[in-house]
């Protein structure tokens, strides 16, 4: 079914005309959504796309290289604070600022990658968890970053103020197009990275790091590179996220956020770009929209309110989101370890070989 006969077939971006057709259809849909969707959904889509960028980046690390990170909220925070600081304090143009911030995040990713050379499994999870919390506390304790009071993002202007050229981006719809273009570029970038020598080295490290070293993959370079690339993606996502929120404080980037990022990748499917897109979309939608307004769902919402009244507290019903996502995490590992991508593969296989 998915037999690859030569190298060109392995590296091409679209495997067949069908994939090309549906990808174009999806892109056209995405580019025309603001014409008919209400403004609230544009805001939601913006957050979804930022999470897609991050999940794709985290998947390069957790899925393709096999390194666990519970500290991606830290890189996310570096991207958000870096971009906002560079733009408001040094008047750096937006595109330059976000790239510099992402490179700073990548540098920190490289630093976290150094202990990762010697650690594995649970120890690495703890070290990265500690890293994320340390970044949160450092930002919270320093006056330069606004401390615990948080920070307001400067007005978003795509132009270069020094050349007198200005292109302000003010409403959610304009932000939507900006983020959509960046997301598409980042996704294509990730797909291509995984098809090069670098991507194949990552996969070799995941499957067996000792075997990879024996066949000539330099572990020091490629492991730290995986962390740096992943952190770069998180930095870009963080820079955009700051502008969607408009205001953020250090506690936005807490441990739960890091867990949610990992959940997106695991629910979507480890090691696949399309999986992380699906996972990020589903989890963000559930978290920001569906479970948040659980009381307004027909029938089920009434039932939940009744239960809350009788045995629980009605104000606490919003915490149902955390419970449900916890159950989703457990369920996906028990019933479908390959995530949504695994479901898709099974579905595809069933219909391609249908009568048999």
């Amino acid at each position: 079914m998915d037999m690859k006969r030569d190298y060109y077939e392995d590296v091409q971006l679209f495997k067949s005309g069908v994939v090309l057709f549906w990808t174009s259809a999806l892109l056209i849909l995405l580019f025309t959504i603001p014409l008919y969707a209400p403004n609230y959904y544009i805001y939601l889509l913006n957050i979804i796309m930022v999470h897609v960028i991050l999940a794709v980046g985290l998947n390069i690390l957790a899925g393709s290289t096999g390194q666990i990170s519970l500290g991606h909220a830290g890189f996310f925070a570096i991207g958000a604070y870096g971009t906002a600081m560079l733009m408001s304090s040094f008047q750096v143009p937006f595109f330059l600022a976000i790239v510099i911030a992402a490179f700073v995040a990548a540098f920190f990713g490289f630093i976290l990658g150094l202990p990762a050379l010697r650690l594995e499994g649970p120890y690495l999870a703890i070290a990265s968890l500690g890293f994320g919390l340390t970044i949160m506390h450092i930002i919270g304790a320093m006056k330069v970053f606004g401390g615990r009071m948080g920070m307001k993002t400067p007005p978003l202007d795509l132009g270069i103020a020094q050349l007198g050229f200005s292109l302000p981006v003010t409403n959610d719809m304009q932000k939507y197009y900006l983020i959509l273009v960046i997301t598409v570029v980042m996704i294509v970038g990730a797909v291509n990275i995984l098809k090069t020598r670098v991507g194949r080295s990552f996969v070799a490290i995941r499957d067996s790091d000792i075997a990879a070293e024996v066949i000539g993959v330099n572990l020091t370079i490629y492991k730290t590179l995986a962390f740096a690339v992943s952190a770069f993606y998180a930095g870009i996502a963080g820079g955009l996220f700051g502008f969607i929120l408009g205001f953020f404080d250090p506690f936005t980037f807490n441990m739960i956020l890091s867990i949610m990022f990992l959940v997106m990748v695991v629910v979507g499917g480890l090691g696949t770009v399309s999986g992380s897109i699906m996972g990020a979309t589903l989890i963000t939608y559930l978290q920001y929209d569906f479970f948040k307004n659980i009381a307004e769902v027909p029938y089920f919402g009434k039932f939940m309110l009744y239960i809350s009244d009788k045995w629980f507290t009605t104000v606490g019903l919003e915490n149902f989101s955390s419970m449900a996502i916890g159950l989703i995490m457990i369920g996906i590992i028990i019933f479908e370890p390959l995530g949504m991508f695994g479901v898709w593969i099974r579905f595809k296989k069933y219909w391609m070989t249908w009568p048999f």
Partner: protein
């Protein structure tokens, strides 16, 4: 504050970390799962005790016994419902399951008891103090923590060394398949380990709650420090973890006295530094994986 006073307090809080870290280690030792839900399991048990005390008005010791039974039941149930059905999970899969259990328990507790801070008191008066050596003031809380920790340590030592179940747990840890061949029901051993660790966690959770306040997120910080202590001790040996907990408490107290602003992150700086030098912690043997 003088040197001695910081030492005593660091040792007491360190003993509390060590006690809680023991709970993490018992699970890691038997089933090689790092239980990220440990903190929330303890939080939930403490809330159950709080509920029994405040809404049913039982005396403390009755509430304590019911809570202990409940925590054992909860530990066994979590293992049975969440971990046992997973077939051949990877390390990441296990971590995701325990993180899922953590979020589930946290959501359930916030739904039931709300997010406001509650007051949880042990029947010991923390303002009663003694001064055995000049300059070292010990309060009742510290004494009871040290006493309970040493009692549980002694019990665990005897348990793992002399009982059948303890030997079975050690055998399961060393080689699960060989233990199975020898006739040990390893799945039952896992149940016991989870129930046991949940119980110890609940005791530690009550100590932590009586020191601060009780809310659904109150175990987050102590749990992470505890984890630091457990990693410091190597996640494998119970004496190592107690030493790790003591070290953690002392480091944190002295450091926090000099730079109070950076107290919350010292735990992680210590972990990363230790792991860089010794990848499996201070007191564990580091095995090179065979290909």
């Amino acid at each position: 504050m003088p040197f001695g006073q910081l030492f005593v307090e660091g040792l007491a809080i360190g003993a509390c970390y060590g006690l809680f870290a023991t709970a993490v280690v018992i699970i890691y030792k038997t089933s090689a799962v790092v239980n990220f839900a440990q903190g929330e399991m303890a939080m939930f048990s403490t809330f159950v005790a709080f509920h029994i005390l405040n809404f049913y008005g039982y005396p403390f010791w009755a509430a304590f016994l019911i809570t202990m039974l409940f925590s054992v039941f909860m530990g066994v149930l979590i293992e049975f419902l969440f971990l046992r059905p997973a077939k051949h999970p990877t390390i990441l899969g296990m971590i995701v399951i325990t993180l899922g259990a953590e979020m589930f328990l946290m959501g359930l507790a916030s739904w039931k008891w709300g997010a406001e801070q509650q007051f949880f008191a042990l029947p010991i008066n923390p303002s009663v103090t003694y001064e055995p050596i000049k300059g070292m003031i010990v309060n009742n809380w510290s004494i009871s923590v040290l006493a309970v920790t040493s009692f549980i340590m002694l019990f665990l030592f005897l348990f793992f060394k002399y009982t059948r179940l303890g030997t079975a747990m050690r055998a399961t840890q060393q080689n699960k398949n060989a233990a199975k061949i020898m006739g040990i029901r390893t799945e039952r051993v896992f149940s016991f380990a989870w129930g046991f660790s949940s119980l110890i966690g609940a005791v530690a959770g009550m100590f932590f709650a009586s020191r601060a306040t009780l809310d659904p997120a109150f175990m987050m910080e102590p749990f992470l420090r505890t984890f630091a202590a457990a990693v410091l001790g190597g996640l494998m040996s119970i004496p190592g973890v107690i030493i790790g907990g003591g070290l953690m408490g002392l480091i944190e107290n002295y450091f926090g006295y000099v730079w109070p602003e950076w107290k919350p992150i010292i735990a992680f700086v210590v972990i990363v530094l230790v792991l860089c030098v010794r990848p499996s912690g201070l007191f564990a043997k580091h095995y090179i994986k065979k290909v």
